[in-house]
C-alpha cells in the first residue's frame, strides 16, 4: 500500500487548477477528497504524475439557491450535504442517499463532486444525480459548460469531463409540489458498496402518482434511469398493486454486472424488489 511518486499542487482558484491540469498533461489527476483516488494510488492501480488538490478552493464548497435551482459546490463534503437545510428542503433524496455513503470518516472527507467525477456506477450519488436531472458544471480553459447528468456518465469510471476540466458545481432543479423520496440501498455490510441501489422521488397529486423519477445504482456501467417504471407510474393510482406492476419493469433495458456480490439475474431481481419498496415509501404508502 505504498503509492508511487507523484507531484502535488493545491491551487487556490479554479483557473489555477485548470492551468495545473494543462501543465500536468494526461497523467494529471484531480484530488477531490481522495476517498477513491488515494486507495487506487496505494494499490498502485494508477500512476498519476501530478495530483491537483482542490481542497483550498473555497468557492467550490457550499450550497446555495439560484432561482429554481439548488447549487452545490463540487467540493462540498458528504457530511455537509447531508446536514444542509437547503438540500433537505429541495433535494431530500440526495441527503438520504449521501447518508448511506460508506462510513462517517469517508463522509467527512469525501465530496459530492468527487463522487460524481469518479463515476463508479456502484456509488450512491450518480444515480441520484441522474434521477433528479442534475446539471453538472465543468470549467476548463474555454470557460464553463453545463452537462446533463444523463450525458455526464459515459461508462465505468468514465465521464464527459475533459482532462483539463474541473467539475465545479452541481445544479439540481428544486422539487416543486408534494414529493416523497426514498433511497433503497442494498449492501451486505453497512460500509460496503451497494449491490443494487434505487433512488426514487415520487410526486403525489390527488391520491395518484403524478410523476416518478427513479435512478438505479450498480445496474450497468453507468447509473441509469428506470424509464419503463417511470412511464408506468406516471398518472397511476398510488396503490400497492399498481406500484408492484410498475416495479416489475425496473430491470428492463439494464445491463447489470455479474460479480462477487451478485449475479446479474440476482441484481435484476433486487432492482425490482427495491424499486417497489422505494416507490412505496416515496409515495407515502
Amino acid at each position: 500500500m505504498i503509492p508511487a511518486q507523484f507531484d502535488y499542487v493545491a491551487p487556490g482558484t479554479v483557473a489555477d487548477a485548470v492551468a495545473a491540469l494543462i501543465d500536468g498533461g494526461e497523467d494529471a489527476k484531480v484530488l477531490a477528497g481522495g476517498q477513491s483516488l488515494i486507495p487506487v494510488l496505494r494499490l498502485r492501480l494508477s500512476y498519476p504524475s501530478l495530483l491537483v488538490d482542490l481542497r483550498k478552493i473555497d468557492e467550490l464548497r457550499g450550497v446555495r439557491e439560484d432561482g429554481a435551482e439548488l447549487v452545490i459546490g463540487a467540493m462540498t463534503r458528504h457530511a455537509d450535504v447531508i446536514s444542509d437545510p437547503l438540500v433537505r428542503q429541495h433535494a431530500a433524496l440526495l441527503a438520504e442517499a449521501a447518508a448511506t455513503v460508506a462510513d462517517p470518516a469517508v463522509r467527512h472527507r469525501g465530496t459530492f463532486g468527487g463522487s460524481l467525477a469518479h463515476a463508479d456506477p456502484a456509488g450512491d450519488l450518480p444515480a441520484v444525480a441522474v434521477a433528479l436531472g442534475a446539471q453538472l458544471v465543468a470549467e476548463g480553459p474555454g470557460g464553463r459548460r453545463s452537462i446533463a447528468a444523463a450525458d455526464f456518465f459515459q461508462d465505468y469510471l468514465q465521464t464527459a469531463l475533459a482532462p483539463d476540466e474541473v467539475l465545479v458545481e452541481v445544479r439540481l432543479p428544486k422539487l416543486q409540489g408534494r414529493w416523497g423520496v426514498a433511497y433503497e440501498k442494498f449492501s451486505r455490510t453497512a460500509q460496503a458498496w451497494a449491490i443494487v441501489g434505487v433512488a426514487a422521488a415520487v410526486r403525489r397529486d390527488n391520491g395518484a402518482i403524478a410523476e416518478a423519477r427513479i435512478g438505479l445504482t450498480n445496474m450497468g456501467s453507468t447509473p441509469v434511469r428506470a424509464g419503463a417504471v417511470e412511464a408506468a407510474l406516471a398518472g397511476a393510482s398510488a396503490e400497492a398493486g399498481t406500484i408492484a406492476e410498475a416495479a416489475a419493469h425496473a430491470a428492463d433495458g439494464t445491463h447489470a454486472p455479474s460479480d462477487l456480490s451478485g449475479g446479474s439475474d440476482y441484481r435484476e431481481h433486487l432492482a425490482r424488489v427495491l424499486t417497489r419498496r422505494a416507490v412505496t415509501t416515496a409515495a407515502g404508502l
Partner: protein
C-alpha cells in the same frame, strides 16, 4: 457449585471500580477492573513494531508471485539495484544457502508429507503471494518502487485449488517430487465400532458442511524489525508476534544463528487470532538480510499483502453422519474431513484439524465415534490456527447436525440436546474421545439463556409469520457448545506428536519498596494480560493492584515461556503466577516468623499481613518483609536473601468452558438478507478474574463467529488469484452490522486448577457460527432448505429460496 451472574452485574462491577478512589486490598478476583493497558492504547502511546525507528534503518519489500503455480526460470534483480536508495536485492537463489526452511512443529503422522518451505521460493512458486525476491532500500517508498524493476520469468504450471480434485487421480501436483497432494491421513476412533453401532440405529442423518477459507485480519498488520550487532553476531528481533519465545527457538533452528545470540521482543501487538502464532518467511528474511548487511532492517506488510501472505484460517469439507434411536438417543457420530493445508505447512497447519478431532462429540453422550482427516495440499496460501483452531469447525458440525437430527425426528432441537448432553451430576465425565471433562452445568446455562431469550414468544411469532407467508421469516438457532482450552498438558501434546510442551512460566519479584514485578511467558497481544495478572497477584499477596507491574514479551526480561494461543494464558499462565505467588508467601512467612520471633506454623497470612496466632499486635506486612529481605541484615539462618519465586506450571488437564447461545434472525426472503434480531449467550468460563475482560472477549468472539456465518469468505478465481484481495471485497462486519449482544454467565469452577478458571479467548467465536446458521436454516425450513454454505450471503439465501432448498 454454580453461581449465576449476568451482564447487569458486570455493569455494577465497572461502576464499583470507578467509585473506588483508593486502592483496596484483597478481593481482587472477579472485579471489573478497567484495563491497565487502555490508557496507553487510547492515547496513542503504543510501541507497535512498525513504529520502531533505529539509526540506519533499512526497509525490506518482498516481490510476490502473481501466479499460483509456476517454475521460476530466472529472477533478474539488477534493475532494482540501479534504483535510487536501493541497498540490496536478493532472489531466492541468492539466499538459498542461508534462508533455511520454515518450520512445521506438528508432524501429525510419522509419514506426513512435509515439503521444504523456503522463505523465498527458489525453483518454483506454489501460491499467489509466494515470495520471489526482496529489495532493501533506504525508505519504504524506494523499496516498493524497486520491486517493479525486478524481472522474473515464469513457466506456468497447472494449478490445483479444489481439495476433492487435488486427491483424485491424475491431478496436477503442488509438490511434484512428493508424488501426491495428500499430506496425511489421520484416523481416530472412540468407544464402540461405529458401523456396528450404526446398524442398531433407527435414524441416520448425513450432511456436508463447508468451512470456508477465512482471512484473520488482525487490526495491526504483521511487521518485523531486526537490529544486528554484527561485530558480536548478535540480533534483536522485534516482531508483531504472539510467540516471541517459540519464534526465538525457531529462528535459531532455521538460520543456524545460535539461540543465545537472538533476542526476540514482541512490542505492543495489535491482535493476532492465530495469525501471529507462526514463524513467517519475512521474519527469517529480515534476519538473514540484516545479518548480511550488518544494518537494521524493517518489513511491514500492507493489508492486501497480508491477505496473500499471512496464514488463512479454516477451509475444511466436513462429511458428517449421526445415528440415533427413534426416541432420540444419539448412538454414534462419523466425521470425514478434508482439510486444506494450502501450498506448504506453516507452524501448526496439520495440527489444526487434529485439535478439532476430539471436540466433535462435544457435550453429548454417545457410544461410538469415528473420525478421519485427510490433509490436502492446494495452490493457495497455507492455512493455520485461526481463533478456535479446530474447535469452531467441530462445534459447527455437531451443532448443525444435532439440529438436522431434531428435524428428522420431529423433535424440538433443545429437547433433543437436553436428552443427550452430559448431566451436571455426571461430571467429571470421560467422553467417547477419552477426554475427561472436569465440570460443567449445561442445564443452568441453558435455563438462563432461554429465560433471557424469550423463546416461547419468538416461537409464536415464527409460527405466525410462517402461516401468513410473511416475506420476512423468523428463524431460531441454538448452539450448546463446549470447547477445549488451556493448551495443554505436555504429555498430551507429546502423544499427539506436537513438537513442544504446554507449560507456562512465571516469576514474581518482590522489590525493596514493596512493589511487585510479575514476569510471565504468556505474551499479550491485546487481551489485557497485565490487568488480569495484576489482579491475581494483588489478590494473592494482598498488595495494591496499582503496585503490580507485569513484564512480558521479551526473551531477555521474560526468558521462558510458551506464549499465547488456544485460550491458554489464564488457565496455564495465570495459574503459574498464582503458584509463584504461593511460593513467595511461603518464603516470606519464614522471614516474617523470624522477625516476629514466632514459630513459622504460628504465622498467618491474610490480606498482605503476617500475624502471629493469638498475638494480634505482632504483625508485619509483606512489603516490610520484602524490605527486610533486601537488607538481609536479619534473616533466618541459611536462608538465601530473596523471597522471589518462580513457577513453571504444566497443566494436568485441559479446561472445558461451555455455554448456551441462542440466536433469532429475520430473513428477508425477497432479497435474501439476514438480520440478527436477537442474540443471547450464557457462557460458563469457570471462575472469572475480570468480568470486563471476559465481556470484551465474548463480544469480539461473537463478532468473529458471526462474521464467518454471514460475511467473510476468501474466494479464489480459477487461476488461484485471491479475488477478495482487499477489504472492499472481503467483508468484515462492524458494529453497525451487529445486534446488541445479551450476555450472561454461569460460573462452574474448573476442578483442575486452583483458580477454577477455564479460558474465554475463543468461546464466542466457537459458539456463535452454528447458532446463526441454525437460525438461518430454521427460517428457511418452509422453503425446503436443510443446509446452507457459509457465509449465508443474501444471494445464496435468495437462490435457495428460489430453488426450494437444492444447492
Amino acid at each position: 457449585m454454580t453461581e449465576q451472574l449476568d451482564a447487569g452485574m458486570v455493569a455494577e462491577q465497572i461502576a464499583d471500580a470507578d467509585a473506588l478512589s483508593s486502592p483496596r486490598r484483597g478481593g481482587e478476583l472477579g472485579r471489573g477492573r478497567r484495563r491497565k493497558e487502555d490508557a496507553k492504547l487510547l492515547t496513542g502511546q503504543t510501541n507497535w513494531t512498525d513504529n520502531i525507528v533505529l539509526p540506519g534503518l533499512l526497509h525490506m519489500s518482498v516481490l510476490r508471485s502473481p501466479m499460483a503455480h509456476a517454475k521460476i526460470l530466472s529472477v533478474d534483480v539488477s534493475g532494482a539495484l540501479e534504483m535510487p536508495g536501493v541497498i540490496a536485492a536478493y532472489s531466492g537463489a541468492d539466499l538459498a544457502e542461508v534462508q533455511g526452511s520454515l518450520p512445521c512443529a506438528w508432524p501429525v503422522t510419522p509419514d506426513m508429507v512435509h515439503p521444504d518451505h523456503h522463505p523465498l521460493a527458489v525453483d518454483e512458486v506454489r501460491y499467489v503471494g509466494d515470495g520471489v525476491a526482496v529489495v532493501v532500500a533506504r525508505d519504504r517508498y524506494a523499496s516498493a518502487d524497486a520491486l517493479e524493476a525486478i524481472v522474473v520469468e515464469y513457466d506456468e504450471l497447472p494449478v490445483v485449488l479444489d481439495m476433492e480434485s487435488a486427491i483424485s487421480d491424475g491431478t496436477p501436483l503442488v509438490h511434484e517430487d512428493k508424488g501426491t497432494n495428500t499430506c496425511f491421513v489421520w484416523p481416530f476412533a472412540g468407544g464402540e465400532d461405529y458401523d456396528a453401532t450404526k446398524a442398531k440405529a433407527d435414524v441416520v442423518v448425513k450432511r456436508r458442511f463447508r468451512q470456508q477459507r477465512l482471512l484473520p485480519a488482525a487490526m495491526e498488520p504483521r511487521a518485523v524489525v531486526v537490529a544486528p550487532i554484527a561485530a558480536a553476531d548478535d540480533y534483536t528481533v522485534y516482531s508483531a508476534t504472539q510467540i516471541p519465545h517459540i519464534l526465538r527457538v525457531m529462528l535459531a533452528l532455521v538460520t543456524g544463528i545460535p539461540e543465545h545470540r537472538i533476542r526476540v521482543i514482541a512490542p505492543d501487538v495489535g491482535g493476532g487470532f492465530g495469525s501471529k502464532l507462526n514463524v513467517y518467511a519475512e521474519e527469517v528474511l529480515a534476519l538473514v538480510v540484516a545479518k548480511k548487511l550488518g544494518r537494521p532492517v524493517k518489513w511491514t506488510e500492507s493489508r492486501s499483502e497480508g491477505f496473500q501472505a499471512t496464514i488463512h484460517g479454516r477451509d475444511q469439507i466436513q462429511d458428517v453422519e449421526i445415528c440415533a434411536t427413534q426416541d432420540g438417543k444419539v448412538l454414534g457420530l462419523k466425521v470425514d474431513l478434508l482439510a486444506d493445508m494450502g501450498a506448504y505447512l506453516q507452524l501448526v497447519t496439520p495440527g489444526v484439524p487434529i485439535l478439532g478431532a476430539f471436540m466433535f462429540p462435544a457435550i453429548y453422550k454417545m457410544d461410538a465415534y469415528s473420525f478421519t482427516c485427510t490433509g490436502v495440499f492446494t495452490n493457495k496460501t497455507p492455512t493455520d490456527a485461526y481463533r478456535g483452531a479446530g474447535r469452531p469447525e467441530a462445534t459447527y458440525a455437531i451443532e448443525r447436525i444435532m439440529d438436522e437430527l431434531a428435524h428428522e425426528l420431529g423433535r424440538d432441537p433443545m429437547d433433543l440436546r437436553r436428552q443427550n448432553w452430559i448431566k451436571h451430576e455426571e461430571f467429571p465425565f470421560e467422553t467417547v474421545c477419552g477426554l475427561t471433562y472436569d465440570s460443567g452445568n449445561y442445564e443452568a446455562a441453558t435455563e438462563k439463556a432461554e429465560a433471557m431469550f424469550g423463546m416461547a414468544a419468538l416461537r409464536a411469532e415464527q409460527k405466525a409469520r410462517r402461516e401468513s407467508r410473511d416475506p420476512i421469516q423468523l428463524g431460531i438457532g441454538i448452539s450448546t457448545f463446549t470447547e477445549m482450552c488451556g493448551l495443554a498438558p505436555s504429555r498430551v501434546l507429546g502423544s499427539l506428536s506436537y513438537g513442544a510442551g504446554g507449560w507456562e512460566a512465571a516469576q514474581i519479584r518482590m522489590l525493596p519498596t514493596g512493589k511487585v514485578e510479575v514476569v510471565s511467558g504468556a505474551t499479550p497481544h491485546g487481551q489485557g494480560h497485565h490487568t488480569s495478572w495484576s489482579q491475581i497477584v494483588a489478590d494473592a499477596l494482598g498488595v495494591p493492584f496499582e503496585d503490580v507491574e507485569c513484564v512480558t514479551g521479551d526473551t531477555d526480561s521474560s526468558p521462558k515461556g510458551m506464549d499465547t494461543y488456544g485460550s491458554r494464558s489464564l488457565v496455564v499462565g495465570g495459574v503459574a503466577i498464582h503458584r509463584a505467588a504461593a511460593k513467595v508467601i511461603e518464603k516470606a512467612r519464614r522471614v516474617a516468623a523470624h522477625l516476629l520471633e514466632a514459630a513459622e506454623g504460628d504465622v498467618e497470612f491474610r490480606s498482605g499481613t503476617f500475624s502471629v496466632k493469638g498475638s494480634p499486635e505482632a504483625k508485619t506486612t509483606i512489603q516490610e518483609v520484602a524490605l527486610a529481605t533486601f537488607a538481609a541484615h536479619n534473616l533466618p539462618e541459611g536462608m538465601e536473601p530473596t523471597i522471589d519465586a518462580d513457577c513453571v506450571y504444566d497443566p494436568e488437564n485441559f479446561s472445558f468452558p461451555h455455554g448456551t447461545h441462542l440466536c433469532a434472525v429475520e430473513v428477508d426472503t425477497e432479497t435474501g438478507f439476514t438480520k440478527i434480531r436477537k442474540y443471547v449467550c450464557v457462557d460458563d468460563v469457570g471462575k472469572v478474574v475480570n468480568p470486563v475482560i471476559v465481556e470484551g472477549q465474548v463480544h469480539g468472539g461473537l463478532t468473529q463467529g458471526i462474521a464467518q456465518a454471514l460475511y467473510e469468505e476468501a474466494i479464489h478465481d480459477a487461476a488461484g488469484n485471491l479475488v477478495t484481495g482487499t477489504m472492499a471485497d472481503y467483508l468484515l462486519p462492524t458494529a453497525a452490522d451487529l445486534p446488541h449482544f445479551d450476555t450472561g454467565r454461569t460460573e462452574t469452577a474448573s476442578t483442575t486448577n486452583p483458580l477454577g478458571v477455564k479460558g474465554v479467548g475463543e468461546a464466542g467465536t466457537i459458539a456463535s457460527t452454528p447458532a446463526v446458521i441454525n437460525a438461518v436454516v430454521d427460517a428457511l425450513r418452509p422453503f425446503g432448505v436443510n443446509n446452507i454454505d457459509m457465509p449465508a450471503t443474501p444471494e445464496r439465501v435468495w437462490r435457495l429460496v428460489q430453488s426450494g432448498g437444492s444447492r
